[in-house]
């Protein structure tokens, strides 16, 4: 056990955990409402979309790739699903299926293009971001969908607890989505052979091919999974927003990337954990929420977020430099 805690402290996740804990302690002392149940529920709900996407993007980053197009995939998925839901009498299962199919299709297109064009994944997905988003805006003329089916607007809420003042505390669709995305991703990465193959692919692509990993097939799965998660996240977001706007999501892709990277995933592949990603999302969420509760004008929140990202990636890089110097000493 002491061994485990020591390892945790030396890992990126351990240090990040300390930072997050320090932030939580500070904010709960400095503000009344930060640690309240209602605030936590609000946070979970409003960060469900980026949190889910972070889980999907984590898988792509571990495999050594990157996806920029997922916000466009999500926009397409929710628009298609809600348009159909408004036209025909369909229910939750159908809507979920449609979002899944659209998201996965977008992901597979990415994987096929990356596998065949000889362009890096960042370039391909920047291009497909524009294609998906441009076509969506072209077809929809940028019109929002305000009227959603009643069953969808009402969503899935369970009142789990009512306090003395009669305020209900609810467990909602957004939380289910968020938890499901993290659990599913954790299972995929740590409990399956596919997960190990994804780490192996990101760690050394040539070696992965040599030991017999089918790289193209694995990439289909990785980007398909990212698309699937984007589809699910889009549904959760549409339910929360109570409307669908084709240009509401595009532009948020780099925020999600920032959260995953803060969580310790490496852009060169092979490194990253679900726990770290959760901490990365939490850090950004608590920071933005905390600034608001502390009474800092919301205009300044982005500036603080940027500073935290810059400090965090610099600290990570310095740590790596020190480690490399350490290895050199050992070898000498």
């Amino acid at each position: 056990m002491p061994d485990l805690s020591k390892r945790l402290l030396h890992s990126h996740e351990g240090k990040l955990l300390l930072v997050v804990l320090a932030l939580v302690i500070f904010l709960s002392l400095a503000t009344k409402s930060f640690l309240s149940l209602q605030n936590m529920i609000d946070l979970l709900t409003s960060y469900s979309f980026s949190g889910m996407l972070a889980a999907g993007l984590l898988v792509v980053l571990i495999s050594g790739g990157i996806d920029i197009s997922f916000t466009a995939s999500a926009s397409v998925a929710q628009y298609v699903a809600m348009t159909i839901a408004n036209q025909y009498h369909i229910g939750w299962i159908e809507v979920i299926l449609i979002c899944a199919v659209v998201g996965i299709a977008c992901g597979l297109i990415n994987a096929v293009l990356i596998g065949t064009l000889g362009l890096s994944s960042i370039i391909v997905t920047i291009a497909t971001l524009n294609v998906f988003f441009g076509l969506l805006m072209f077809v929809t003329h940028g019109n929002e969908i305000f009227a959603l089916p009643d069953w969808f607007v009402n969503g899935a809420n369970w009142v789990v607890y009512t306090d003395k003042q009669g305020n209900p505390y609810i467990f909602n669709l957004q939380m289910i989505g968020l938890i499901a995305a993290f659990v599913l991703t954790a299972l995929l990465l740590t409990r399956t052979n596919i997960g190990r193959q994804i780490y192996a692919l990101g760690s050394n692509k040539d070696a992965a091919q040599r030991v017999g990993i089918k790289v193209f097939r694995l990439n289909l799965l990785v980007y398909g999974y990212m698309g699937f998660v984007a589809g699910m996240a889009s549904l959760v977001q549409a339910q929360d927003a109570q409307s669908v706007s084709p240009n509401a999501l595009v532009g948020r892709e780099l925020d999600v990337l920032a959260a995953v990277v803060l969580g310790g995933a490496s852009l060169t592949g092979g490194v990253g954990t679900v726990f770290g990603t959760i901490l990365g999302v939490m850090l950004l969420a608590f920071l933005q929420n905390g600034l608001l509760l502390l009474g800092v004008q919301s205009y300044w929140s982005e500036c603080f977020t940027g500073a935290v990202i810059l400090i965090a990636v610099s600290a990570l890089a310095l740590e790596r430099q020190r480690q490399r110097a350490g290895v050199r000493r050992v070898m000498a």
């Binding site: 052979n193 190990r196 193959q197 992965a208």
Partner: protein
């Protein structure tokens, strides 16, 4: 011993180019076999055919366990028990030792293999080899030698019956090579055949039973390893006799160009003293980890020493950056030509002028086309680089010509001291001669040359004086005329 694999009449053509012509090869079970040849001799094509990466042309056959194949697929080859350990080792640096060794467990089925089973499997393999490795360490944190052990364990875990190792000793220290030899003996004891692929005769020859030599895609023959000498192998691989003589000019009257006194850097080297006279070639021989490269980097300003003094032409100098070293007239040809010496994808011309760009500007700080071109052609002619167009990427040149480009780049800085770190690594034997001739010519023109190497003949026949380095210290100074190859080897290994 029974035969493990029998290749007969194997040929391979790529377009009009013959990579292999009518090669026969037999490897017995439990045999240690050395496959020798220059770059382009066909040895890597042969390995690819055995491992199933490429099919041979029709007409040949491969017999394993009495079964005949016209060609193998990678899956078949693995099933039969062929495992190739490439020079880059093909490991996963971000996975643990156990996961790397038993990775095959992760290839079948959806459910994870389970940490315990994986560890048990890896542990069993490690125990069989009698080595010690931390199962939970990340491979990226291991030394090169330990990584090689992991690669060997992985081959063993895949039930290998034939392990092919591509240049396995290239980046190992002497003790690590000894460990590798012990492990090879252990593999042999278990009836596993080992093929070492090499372009030079090295330590692995000590335990090899037979040597097969390839040249220009043809097999010259297979010999008993104990009948083979380095010189004979060199002659066989290249088709040329090389008869070097020790020639040492009298330099006692020449002024001292570089003088090093009490130079130390913690963890790298300790109390180094030597002089190099104008026109002298000082050979520095030592194995990996002897401090030879670290010393060179300190003289080149990239690893400032902790103590000691460096004098150039009698004047003490402080070298805090490689720019400072270059300005003082010191040039350094790195041992890692491919990643530190050259920008492979970029034009030959750009590489030649890289260190002297500031001298080639004309009006308004722009590069002068005429001066750049004449600098490029001066380098090309001075060093006899064979190029059709200096705008072609350096990658398109042969190893020997690439090294000439590196030297041309440094000559453009007009150095007084030229440090060459393993100048003929990856250069064919024929082309090595050209490099030696250049080095001797430069010395004769008055340059002070320091030639670092781990190949005995290189310093013995081409240096005027030899320093032996070991464990960060100078262990002795020799004059080539007083030495034989054997006595120098003993001095290094002692």
């Amino acid at each position: 011993m029974p035969d493990f694999i029998n290749l007969a009449r194997i040929s391979k053509h790529f377009g009009g180019v013959t990579a292999l012509a009518d090669v026969d090869l037999t490897i017995s079970a439990g045999e240690v076999h050395c496959l020798a040849g220059e770059n382009g001799s066909g040895k890597s094509t042969l390995i690819k055919i055995i491992s199933g990466v490429q099919p041979p042309d029709s007409g040949g056959e491969i017999v394993i366990d009495g079964q005949r194949y016209t060609h193998l697929t990678p899956a078949e080859s693995t099933r039969i028990g062929v495992q190739v350990i490439y020079q880059d080792l093909s490991l996963f640096p971000d996975l643990t030792v156990a996961e790397n060794i038993a990775f095959a467990q992760h290839l079948r089925g959806l459910r994870g293999a389970g940490k315990q089973r994986l560890r048990a499997k890896a542990e069993a393999v490690i125990a069989r080899l009698g080595v010690s490795l931390d199962l939970d360490a990340l491979v990226g944190e291991l030394s090169i030698a330990q990584r090689q052990l992991v690669a060997i364990c992985r081959a063993l875990a895949a039930e290998a019956r034939l392990v092919i190792m591509d240049e396995p000793t290239a980046s190992l220290t002497r003790t690590e090579v000894d460990t590798l030899l012990d492990i090879t003996r252990e593999l042999k004891r278990r009836g596993i055949a080992v093929v070492f692929v090499s372009h030079r005769l090295d330590e692995v020859m000590e335990i090899a039973e037979r040597v097969t030599v390839l040249r220009d895609g043809r097999k010259l023959g297979t010999w008993d390893a104990k009948d083979m000498t380095p010189r004979r192998l060199g002659t066989l691989m290249t088709g040329h006799e090389f008869d070097y003589k020790v020639v040492v000019p009298d330099l006692s009257a020449a002024p001292v160009m570089l003088s090093v006194r009490g130079l130390s850097r913690r963890g790298d080297f300790e109390d180094i003293n030597f002089d190099i006279r104008q026109g002298e070639i000082l050979g520095v021989i030592g194995l990996l980890g002897s401090g030879r490269t670290e010393l060179a980097l300190s003289l080149f300003g990239m690893r400032p020493p902790d103590r000691g003094q460096i004098r150039l032409d009698g004047a003490p100098v402080s070298l805090t950056s490689n720019r400072a070293a270059i300005d003082h007239g010191i040039a350094y040809v790195s041992e890692d030509r491919l990643s530190l010496g050259l920008v492979l994808e970029q034009p030959i011309a750009s590489n030649i002028v890289l260190s002297t760009l500031d001298k080639l500007t004309g009006a308004a700080g722009l590069l002068s086309g005429d001066r750049t071109r004449s600098a490029v052609w001066q380098g090309i002619e001075q060093l006899g680089i064979k190029v059709s167009d200096p705008e072609n990427p350096v990658r398109t040149l042969s190893g020997g010509n690439q090294q000439r480009v590196v030297i041309a780049k440094w000559l453009a800085t007009q150095p007084r001291v030229l440090i060459l770190d393993s100048p003929t690594v990856g250069v064919d034997i024929n082309a090595k001669d050209g490099i030696y001739a250049i080095v001797k010519r430069l010395a004769a023109e008055g340059m002070a040359v320091m030639m670092i190497s781990d190949e005995i003949p290189e310093v013995l026949y081409h240096a005027h004086r030899i320093l032996v380095m070991q464990g960060g210290r100078v262990k002795g100074e020799f004059h080539p005329a007083q030495l034989s190859e054997t006595s120098l080897r003993e001095a290094i290994d002692a």
